[in-house]
Amino acid sequence: MHNILVKVCMGTGGIAAGGDEVLAAFNKEIAEAGITASVEKKCSTHQVGCRGLCAKDVLVDVIINDRKVTYQHVRPEMVSRIVKEHILENVPVAELVAGDDYHNFHDKQFKVVLSDCGSIDPEDIDAYIAVEGYTSAQKVLGSMSPEETTDLIKRSGLRGRGGAGFPTGTKWEIAGKQVSDRKYIICNADEGDPGAFMDRSVIEGNPHAVIEGMIIGAYAIGAYKGYVYIRAEYPLAVERLRKALDDARRRNFLGKSIMGSGFDFDILVKLGAGAFVCGEETALIASIEGQRGMPRAKPPFPVYQGLWGKPTVINNVETLANVSYIVRKGAEWFASFGTEKSKGTKVFALTGKIKNSGLIEVPMGIPLRQIIYDIGGGIEGDRQFKAVQTGGPSGGCIPADLLDTPVDFESLAKVGSIVGSGGMVVLDETDCMVNIAKFFLEFTRGESCGKCVPCRIGTKRLLEILERITKGEGRPGDIELLENMSVDIKMASLCGLGQTAPNPVLSTIKYFRHEYEAHINDKKCPAGVCRDLLTYMVLPDACKGCGACLRACPAKAITGEKKKPHAIDPSVCIKCGACFDVCKFKAVKKE
């Protein structure tokens, strides 16, 4: 009797690549072939696909008697061949099997938080229990005091994974010492950084680990109620989380006297409504209370006065997901990897111009170069690496000559960026750094709550200066003005959003000042990105007159007879690049 298991990635990334059709195809083929195989949904990282490497989606594992073969780029039409040759005849389809890239991507990582993501079914509580799930909560509630629990987390050296890196144990300790009739623990799943999807992946891949972390945290601080504040833009994560909470309640991992311990605790889900600033603790609290998410000044910090004025601990998803593993394997185990001040691992969303784009987990302190070249497989199209942007709108760009910087809280801060929540966007020679700064300022300008002057008007003015530079209207002195006002905005703003919003400007000026100067002095965009400094033209020698560009042009700026070189009217051209994209003969040039 052969034990056959087919695991298909079913995240939105996987679904976008046709995951559900692939799954359906397997079900159909297997049924037709009359084999008893169970086709189960594999834990997938929503929108990323399984195991983080969604660039290779749809990924499918075929496991026969514990021998696993992974297929990449599976399309529904390939399924019948896999079923016929591999499942029926036990001969894997060699040319469809995932190659070295796939294995390098995984082999160079070190997984704690993601260790069960991608291998268990996130919608099945028994799958989590089968990998020792909820044993940590049982141990803590059954045999440890809240102080011992806090002490364990303190000794592990775990620091907040949301961006600031505050020691989690210390936060719990302060909250634990507060005397109050009510305390709260909040899981911050309002992952707002553009280019980041770690928290969503963890919740989608292993929601029970987050719940277990919250139970342990609640016990340590004495909270009777918890909230998960999660973005509504993550429908699959919300759905899986809700199911997981229901299942946990049914098994008495939540509710009255959890597992007979006498400890009561339950968790509610609160959906965000589309405001980046609600990732900020005090704004998040305001949002849970049903108000506009406007931050308030700290102190008092939420551990003293938080939700409804009561002591409140706010931990990020990844932070909480670490907790059960720390309890299970010990503080010393966790502290044994990472650097002196940054313990453990960190999950990153590696995206942008990188070959193996996806979700990764690495020990703190690993050099950037290893992430980008060993795990990420280098730059897409083998173009020149220019910079890696870490920490999203609060972070900075790290240039090529600093690629050996270790990735930990202190080292990244030293080079003018931050670890942040874990977004890592790789930029290549075709990316304009002024444009990148402008992009982030557009973001922060739009997400500023408007409460304090430096952020409300300051980000707008920063953006306007960047806009004029990218339009070729930059003036001498603009760079200095940007620098000066950036420093003031950082110092004078009320919350973390404004205090970090100028970072992308400062770091790009620091490392790529020459690009700013080229825009201002020469009215040129060296990377060929800034629209107003570009012209699109057809190279008559290369143009075959196929008409593809003509049809694609939304502005009707292209004219030309069939089979004769076409031409672009620059006065009509809106520089959308559609012609550039559709031309198969590289006959459209931008300059």
Binding site: C449, G450, C452, I457, E464, D488, M491
Partner: protein, 346 residues
């Protein structure tokens, strides 16, 4: 009590006092636009930033509670630079039309710009433009002049309990909104006008009537009801051009729509200035003596013919306690009836 040092001056204040309040108590000036003693701290304008020893960055003194042993510096080159930047930013998104602004001369923003000598501004760019005018009868809302200090929202909510307005939108597009941005529809107490530090909220009746020059301020008591709110008439050429109220009165600067805006009757041509007696179906002006004599005669006549209980007295809530006391005394003692009441309405 906590003891702290502000600019090396020792201050002893009750627990819960903010650093800003402590400084003001000690006679130390800190600029501020959004802070208001009646309202909960906001921390939005960032002008009251101070340096506190041991804190990694400047903090707003209006939100920071004074703590034992705290060492505060209310000014430093960095603090002054930040305040200047903040002011320049505000002014870069302001009409700067002080020449024609109703609030010129009593505008906190103008005063701060003057204090910091901001003639040139490093910042320029898009300014908020709002075409729509609020059609309500009393309060001019010029949102382009609004600096989003939130005082109006807070006083409407925290003091008046009306919640007619709220912050709307966010970031640079943020503005103070009524529901669905319709015309303001509230009690029109004008508390919001009184706390607005700029010309964003003014009285519609004020328009072009005069600002400071030639305007005399006369402290008085509101004649509308017995509460006795203190108010200040701004008088130009013997005409009331504006009503305000000082914070130190028993009403702490708060007024109602009548006291604040219903002052036009004073100069109204329809206003009765002398008693009138109807003779042959026509009202004829007369003297107070004649009028009072007539009333006395009529009362006596009725009392003699029908007894005192045929007469009743109804007084007004607009009268003071003393006036009402005198009135009931008159009805009871002089007329001899207990038929006396009071409208108890405003």
């Amino acid at each position: 009590m906590v003891t702290l040092k502000i600019n090396n001056i020792e201050a002893v204040v009750p627990e819960g006092t903010t650093v800003l309040e402590a400084a003001r108590k000690a006679g130390i000036y800190i600029p501020a636009l959004c802070q208001h003693p009646k309202l909960t701290p906001f921390g939005g304008c960032r002008l009251c930033l101070v340096e506190i020893k041991g804190m990694p960055r400047p903090v707003t003194s209006c939100t920071t509670p004074a703590a034992e042993g705290m060492e505060v510096a209310t000014t430093s080159p960095v603090i002054e630079r930040l305040r200047r930047t903040v002011l320049e930013l505000i002014l870069s998104d302001h009409p700067n039309d002080c020449m024609v602004c109703e609030q010129a001369g009593s505008c906190t923003l103008q005063e701060l710009a003057y204090e910091y000598g901001i003639r040139e501004n490093r910042f320029e760019g898009e300014r908020r433009k709002y075409a729509r005018k609020d059609g309500n009868p009393f309060i001019e809302r010029d949102l382009e002049k609004c600096i989003m200090c939130g005082r109006c929202v807070k006083i409407c909510d925290e003091v008046q309990g009306v919640e007619a307005i709220e912050f709307g939108y966010r970031g640079f597009d943020a503005k103070i909104c009524t529901p669905f941005e319709e015309d303001l529809d509230c009690e029109f107490c004008g508390q919001c006008v009184s706390v607005c530090p700029t010309g964003a909220l003014t009285g519609k009746l004020w328009s072009k009537k005069g600002r400071q020059l030639g305007v005399r301020e006369v402290d008085s008591t509101c004649p509308y009801c017995g509460t006795g709110c203190m108010l200040t008439y701004h008088v130009k050429d013997n005409e009331i051009v504006r009503v305000t109220s000082k914070e130190d009165g028993l009403n702490e600067g708060l007024l109602c729509v009548k006291g604040r805006f219903a002052y036009k009757y004073v100069n109204s041509p329809d206003r009765l200035r002398k008693p009138l007696i109807k003779k042959d179906g026509v009202f004829v002006e007369t003297s107070w003596d004649d009028a009072l004599d007539l009333i006395a005669d009529k009362l006596k006549e009725v009392k003699a013919e029908h007894g005192p209980d045929a007469i009743a007295g109804l007084s007004s809530a607009r009268c003071t306690n003393e006036e009402n006391y005198a009135f009931q005394k008159f009805i009871r003692a002089a007329i001899g009836t207990n038929n006396v009441d009071h409208c108890a309405r405003l």
